[in-house]
Subunit: 310 residues, 2 copies
């Protein structure tokens, strides 16, 4: 049973109870409200009784212009007031990741991408879908909170996903002042660059356009699915040797690069895969949490690419 | 110089002149208007003086509900009134395809997908882009007309792209009455199915999710980029063993399939590539043109996949 360790107003705000594994986490509407609910046996030290909302707010306020009036960074499951027992950072709150979070007794998943298979996580169209129902029920049963941290982690300075990726690549020293171009020194062939990226990011295979022997010095790095128009305009603005990105639509950037080459330009394209290109952002997020909330166990669980090659 | 072979009103409608290679095709506003314009030396037989608009209209009227009030099937270059010297059908009017069309003296390209790297072929944002300018100038210089035939070829019964693909796969006998499910007989492993598709469609590699040894009998076949919501709803409605499609967004269908498998479903995914999955539709279109306009030389030029694997 929990007990109240301190009655000062200031500390009362942080007093909450650990939810039982099967029951709902209960909000402390008043410092004493919790006593009416059922509790698990363990009590966290006062300093560690941190809610989802407190963690979200601390991260969000770092982003210039925050809070954003129009954002996909909403809770996909659970509520702000749940007291956090542990955190998992990941690219996608997949069913597998949720199970691992449960095994870790972590009730807060911070995912970079949608939970329910569309950008805005609309679910009305999925109400009768058995996969959606299975996942939603799993989250509910285990009181797992899922927060998408997409717009904010891209909005902080520097962009947290980019920082995670560039750190993993060891490319900090190549970064141009525009923060999207990396001037490799020495230059390397497209084939060598692909090998380098695959090794550093643990990628099975990439898709590419270009001459494997072409020298690449000026790299435009746009992780994730930046959008065809954005990718093409960035190419136009920076005139790189190669665009390295996460995901493309075949009828947009890929065709632009093909035409650019036919028109005589030395432009190549490497499509890493969306997940592998942004997974380091979840590692960045885990480090931030470990620094800001050292008493809460945070685990980065790589989602890994969904797609294999054959 | 051309001459008027026949003065009957009926045939006059089809009288037009072949444009010179460098000049503009001239509209026959009246049967005699053409005489005031400059002509090339050669004259096509009267029956062959067919305009772009006549070809478009004959195809379009086959689609139930045509003409569509909201369609991307517009001219991307040139005009309806240009007299056709030859036709190229293809997935994309790439710079390479345009050059091949010029070499074939074909001034009409019927492409399935956009010409200018976005679904609606908006070009205002590309006005200063050197790749766009190169391509637009190439089309203009050689008086090439480009028509996108996307909504209409999908709109005819049966869907022309699907028919082309299913013919190439030899799967007609497997087709369910809903026209999206193919019940393979005998069933084959996912690995064998992938090998079969690669061989029949001449594909270098595919991306997939699933157990290569899983038996696949019920195939949901959705060529092209059908959209995440449509793909997922089709899976829900048909409960296939495997979805075979052209293109996915990683955060939509791929994650749905991954979660479905984690939830215990026997569902796999094969992503063929957008272009290779719909290229047979351009072959279908070429056959239709050869049948309806036998006097006009029609050539199907496969665009081929833009992306290679490494």
């Amino acid at each position: 049973m929990p007990r109240e360790n301190n009655t000062s107003i200031n500390r009362r705000k942080f007093i909450a109870q650990v939810a039982t594994a099967a029951g709902s986490a209960v909000v402390l509407a008043s410092p004493f409200a919790g006593f009416a609910a059922g509790f698990s046996a363990g009590t966290m030290p006062v300093q560690e009784r941190i809610t989802v909302g407190q963690i979200m707010d601390l991260f969000i306020k770092q982003a210039p212009g925050a809070p954003f009036s129009n954002t996909v960074d909403t809770l996909k499951s659970g509520s702000r007031d749940v007291v956090v027992t542990g955190i998992v950072t990941t690219m996608f709150a997949t069913v597998e990741v949720i199970r691992k979070a449960i095994a870790l007794n972590a009730n807060f998943i911070i995912a970079h991408e949608p939970t329910f298979y569309n950008h805005t996580d609309e679910t009305a169209w999925l109400e009768k879908d058995d996969v959606y129902r299975y996942k939603a029920a799993l989250l509910k049963k285990h009181n797992i909170v899922v927060w998408r941290n997409h717009d904010y982690i891209h909005g902080v300075k520097p962009d947290g996903v980019r920082k995670g990726l560039v750190d993993q690549l060891g490319w900090q020293r190549f970064e141009d002042s525009n923060h999207v171009i990396y001037n490799l020194s020495p230059a390397m062939t497209l084939k060598a660059l692909i090998g380098n990226l695959k090794q550093k990011l643990n990628i099975e295979a990439v898709r590419y356009i270009g001459d494997p022997e072409q020298q690449c010095k000026k790299v435009l790095l746009l992780p994730g699915a930046y959008g065809g128009k954005n990718q093409i305009q960035s190419i136009g603005n920076t005139q790189p040797d190669v665009l390295v990105c996460g995901e493309v639509s075949e009828w947009e950037t890929a065709e632009y690069v093909r035409d650019a080459r036919a028109a005589g330009k030395q432009l190549s394209l490497i499509v890493l895969g969306h997940i592998v290109s942004e997974e380091p952002g979840s590692e960045f997020m885990a480090k931030w949490l470990q620094e800001k909330f050292p008493a809460i166990k945070t685990t980065h669980i790589p989602t890994g690419s969904s797609l294999s090659f054959l």
